[in-house]
Symmetry: C2
Amino acid sequence: MNEQEKLLNARDRFIDSMAKNMSLYGITHSVGRLYGLLYFNEKPMTLDEMKDELGMSKTSMSTAVRQLQELNMVEKVWKKGERKDLYQAADDWYDSFTALFTTSWRTGISLNMSTINRSLKELHNLRDNPETPDEVRASVKLDIEKYQYALDYYDWLNRFVDSLESKEIFNYIPKKE
Amino acid sequence: MNEQEKLLNARDRFIDSMAKNMSLYGITHSVGRLYGLLYFNEKPMTLDEMKDELGMSKTSMSTAVRQLQELNMVEKVWKKGERKDLYQAADDWYDSFTALFTTSWRTGISLNMSTINRSLKELHNLRDNPETPDEVRASVKLDIEKYQYALDYYDWLNRFVDSLESKEIFNYIPKKE
DNA sequence: TAGTTCGTAAAGTTTTAACTGTACGAATTT
DNA sequence: AAATTCGTACAGTTAAAACTTTACGAACTA
C-alpha cells in the first residue's frame, strides 16, 4: 500500500465510522457516507462526480444531497461557467448539530402541545360538568395532572431547543475545552 | 359519546401524538403507544393486560417493554403474591430524556474518537515520513486538520452529554419556567 | 413429578423504507 | 427550433425493520 492509498484508507475508515454514528440521528448510512465524501473533498462536487465516487445512482445522489441540504449539512455553491450544480459540505458541525434538532423537534413539540391543550380543555369541561359521574371525575382529575406534567416537560424541551437555536448552549458548554 | 368515552378519547388522541413524536428519537410508533398506555394506567400492568389493551401479540409486548426498560422509560415492579411481571411507566420524563441520549450517544462518540485517533496516528507517520511525495503530504496535512476539527467536535459533544448525564443542564435550563 | 403458566428466543410473515431505472420538463447550446 | 444536458418526479424493485406465530425452558402448583 503506497502513501496515497494509506491516506484514502484512513479517510474511508473514518467516513464509515461517522456514517454509522449518524444513523443515531436518523441519517441513513449511504447519506452519511456522501456527507463524508463531501467533507474530505477539497472542491465542491457535482451529482455525477458523487455517483461515480460512491458507485450509486444519480437519483440517489440527488435525493441524498437534498436531504443534507435540508439539514444544513451541505450547501449549494455557484461557480461561473458551470452548468452543473455544485455542492460542498457545510464546515460548521456545531451549526449542523443544532439545526438538526431545532428543525425536527420544533414541529413535534408544538404539535404535541396543541394536542394536549385540546384534550385539557375537554377534560376541564368534564370536570366542571355536574353530569359527570364521580368515579369518572376522579379519573379526569388524575389525567389532568398528567397532561399538566407533559405540558411542563414540553415547555422545558422547547426552552432547551431555544438554547440550541440561539447558540446560548455554547455559553454553558463552550466549544474549546 | 358519554363522559367515560370522552376521557378515553382525549387520552387516545394524546397518546397517538406522543407516539408520533417519539419516532423522532428512534422509538417505534407501537412502542410509543405502549408507553402512553402505561403512562396513563394508574396500576402497573402485566404483559397480558398490555396485549389485550393494544390488540398485539404478547411477544411484541415482551420485546417492546424491554426496549422501554433499556431506555429507562419503564420499570419492573414487584408485588407479593403476583406471579406475572408488572411494569409501570417511569414517572420522570426528564430522566428518560437524558438517559435516552447518554446511552445511545456515548458509544458512538467514543467509537468515532478512537477511529479518528487511529487515522490521525497513521497520518502523522505519513507526514513525517520523508518518502511521502510532496503532493500527498499536502493532502495529509489538510486531512489532519479535518480530523482535528472532528475530534474537537466530539469532545464538545461528550461534554454536552456529560451535562445531560449529570443533570447539570437543569442549572442552565431550569425545569420550572 | 406431572401438569400449568409465564416470558422470551427463533423462524416466518408483513409492512416500511431505501435505492434504481425510466421518463420528462427546464435550461443550454448550436 | 432542434439537439443536448441536467435535475428530479414517479414507478418498480430490493433490502430492512416491525410484528406474529410457534416452540420451549424456567418457575410455579398440586
